[in-house]
Symmetry: D2
Subunit: 299 residues, 4 copies
């Protein structure tokens, strides 16, 4: 059985009389009747579907993806997940998880010196534009402490010494342990080891300052100038072991010309970076992103 149950702890603790807004995410081999089975289950549980998105890579033999957002009366939440597992998920061989929309995701941000993405995320959070909370920031530089603490967020300076990177990663893991639901690399210029990625236990999203797969690796704007491209871009992706090669969540570009030197590319690119990262983080926090092999379905 390949179905996976991820039940947030708070599920049974909600306010007793309010309708909870839940999100159900499913992937499974495609076959007839999935939407009907899910929506019948929800209807039988007096759940009201608020939005439903589905995608199939191929109706014949492909993979089916589903996201349903629904309102569930509090008295129907008891045993809801178990019943879904038994009566629907197992039958279709689903990998699934659900999430209480009221439970805002806790975001940890790692940053180095360039703070434009960090500042942007903090500002969106303060304006209540982010369906998540920034709970801590860690950096290999001390520079952004004032900005972060002024926003009421703890700032941890975790220097990275060239000859002892594992020590820095261990320190980060200690800080992050149990504190966050996702990690955002908001221009964190250190490569994280696969051990770190294994042990951190939550999704890690990175913003790369190029339109991947063009200009992976270091100095993408210098590479872009060298190659004479007419657009520069940014890519938000899940971090995997292979550098700059994880599943892409969002990308965008901006037009440039021969007249733009590298500092100008960097400035123009920074606009795209912060916009692209903000969209990717928001979509992830709204449970809109499903991974499929090395790509994503974004509902």
């Amino acid at each position: 059985m390949n179905s996976t149950i991820v039940v947030p702890e708070e599920v049974s603790a909600g306010e007793p009389h309010a309708q909870a807004r839940m999100r159900l995410l499913v992937s499974c081999p495609d076959r007839p009747g999935i939407v009907a089975a899910v929506s019948r289950f929800l209807s039988d549980a007096d759940a009201n579907i608020i939005s439903l998105n589905q995608h199939s890579t191929d109706p014949a033999g492909g993979t089916f993806f589903l996201r349903v957002e629904f309102a569930l009366p509090p008295e129907r939440r008891e045993g809801f997940a178990e019943r879904f597992g038994l009566t629907v998920a197992d039958h279709f061989g689903m990998t699934w998880r659900w999430w209480d929309a009221a439970q805002r995701k806790r975001v940890a941000v790692l940053v180095s010196k360039h703070d434009h993405c960090l500042v942007d995320l903090l500002y969106r959070w303060q304006r209540s534009e982010l369906d998540a909370d920034v709970v801590l920031v860690a950096s290999n530089h001390p520079d952004s402490r004032h900005t972060v603490e002024a926003a009421g967020v703890p700032y941890h300076h975790v220097p990275v010494h060239r000859d002892d990177k594992p020590a820095a990663e261990a320190k980060l893991l200690e800080l992050l342990d149990g504190e966050c639901d996702m990690v955002v690399l908001a221009r964190y210029m250190q490569i994280l080891s696969s051990e770190f990625l294994d042990r951190v236990g939550v999704p890690v999203i990175n913003i790369h300052h190029s339109f991947l797969p063009a200009f992976a690796g270091a100095g993408p704007y210098e590479q872009a100038k060298q190659r004479g491209v007419k657009l520069v871009g940014a890519t938000a992706h899940y971090v995997t072991e292979e550098l700059d090669a994880g599943p892409i969540i969002e990308q965008d570009v901006v037009r440039v010309s021969h007249a733009d030197d590298v500092p100008t590319l960097i400035r123009l690119g920074a606009e795209v970076e912060r916009a692209v990262l903000a969209r990717a983080v928001q979509w992830h926090c709204q449970d809109r992103v499903l991974r499929h092999r090395n790509s994503t379905v974004v509902f």
Copy 2:
């Protein structure tokens, strides 16, 4: 009862053993259980949902819109529509229609002198990029006859005399009667009367050469130059009695500068016009567009 049945004639004539691909479009007052009821009905009819989109203007007291594309075994098509009406649609007070995806919509194009949108539609049709067939072209000018006939489409020259517009409209209605499922105004520079719109009996889509509601009426590029805008655009919309004020299906823009004179705006705008109109026609022909008051839901 406000439900409306539109059953295409060919529904029972399909190839006997093939799965038909059908589209169901629904709008009704929003309330819990609609998706469940529809998907249960489809499941009970052995239909396999291929895609499903829904939208609610407001879960409390708003209007609900649904588009489902599904495969239906041929032996289940007999009486399908009647059963849906009785068991689902009436219960929810639905306005609904369905359409066999194999039945390509028949498009009549009206054009004046500027032929870029016409040429583009013909080319997309010839490349099989349009889920529709261009079945006739009519124009108040003789200019495009060669282009149209070379594509194997009948061309009708219907001159419009300033002092007898009703005669031209009567001639057009005669040509269109029963021949088409929609009319596209591909830069047809005559204003159609409300009598014509009433009598034509099929949706009429127009391309207006501005980003509506800016620059409605005549000479939009001249108006745009006069106002000094930095973007010019185009708008595809359903035609209603009120000029350039019908529900918008699609819009797009292109960047311009002080250096672009009116002929250049016209040339740049023509690119946008043909792209916007092609998208609007394609979406309409795929039954992706539902009207809601004076706007549209595009799935």
Copy 3:
């Protein structure tokens, strides 16, 4: 004689041995020889042209616009403007001004409750991305005081009482007098009187939250939702007596859909507003914008 000399006070006070980077802006009736005359004058003064842009509305009888950026040896600055006036400008009937690029423009910002444009301008200024200095902020609300003062900028709360708007304008004029080279209305939701505009004596740039001329006036996002447009935008323009009708400097749009409610339009629009306003302010501060009737030439 219609030539106008605007010589910044600091012109003769620059560092003695450095090459000054100057900008010359010219408009005049078009006729042959203007570029040659200007560039010959600059060459004779040992000035090195760094960039040169020109535009003519019509080579026959139109208006000619020129922007030249050049490096001028300090020992050649004495009398430079007077000589240019006598030997070139008067001959061609030029309206002209020049500006020392090293002299950063002083920007005063007026804001109401929505602070996204203000915060963005402050952030760009702090990152040295703005070729200008934010020297003061005034608001009819007290809300942004902390943000502004944290950036080291004076914040003035100038309440506007419905029955005594002139008092507020008088207070603003007093604050602004001699303190700034331009005023930016970064979502300042009060209409300024023509008396104010006359007396303030510097250019005033406003950001309007729609793609003008669509949705001028109040509540543009509500108007946009009502009309069902598929793109929303923002417009930066010079403020004139007529509301939302001044010369447009920059515009941009973002795609929206039926699924976006008014708060979402506001959030998406805010992204465009801050980007458009930042570009307009930057271009103005780099002396790239020339007014021509009710439109602009942006070099």
Copy 4:
């Protein structure tokens, strides 16, 4: 001396009394006085500058690029080029060429099976939107003969046999010899040898169906789907010996999603390809593109 004179034959053959519109293109080591020297030369020749663009990669030690469009009285054309060479170009070590704007460039198009770029170029040419003439089309397939001949353009079927590519290239060189000013590869799916590029003697522009340098080589849309990118694009570039690595003239992208399969990417990409190629060809034909190492300056 590194200055190069390219004088079009027709220069002295123009209509005797008309003002000729000429374009001068220059590149040279940057140093003070270049614009002044050129504009003084033009002024002394009674030439009227219509537009002037310049760019320097670095005012100190960089390369300077200039494009001037000017009107020249016919009686001043005699010896114009020689004088410019002697009095200006040699002095500054310029590489330069000029071109009579009235002399439309002759374009040869090579195409394989996908005809969307070809059809688009023909249509723009027929609408007089291209400042060039399509003089011949050659293809390794017979498919587009009807389309091309209907436009009044000769069509040459030059099959390419896997075991004798040189024969096909020889045949093409024979067809092109002296007949065209540039060659456009409008989705020509054969790799041209460096011998061909040497011998063809005119610039060759290719449209690659990806946002280079991402997805160079074969099957870019398949590569894009595999990688899960959120934008697909197209790149027009000068062809050099190294496949898909020549100087980029223009690029653009279109947004795609997980729901788009490879045929849809191909269809969406085709829109971008034809737009990007048309812009690149037009700019080249207007002498707006200067090569600099492996990139371009586009005025």
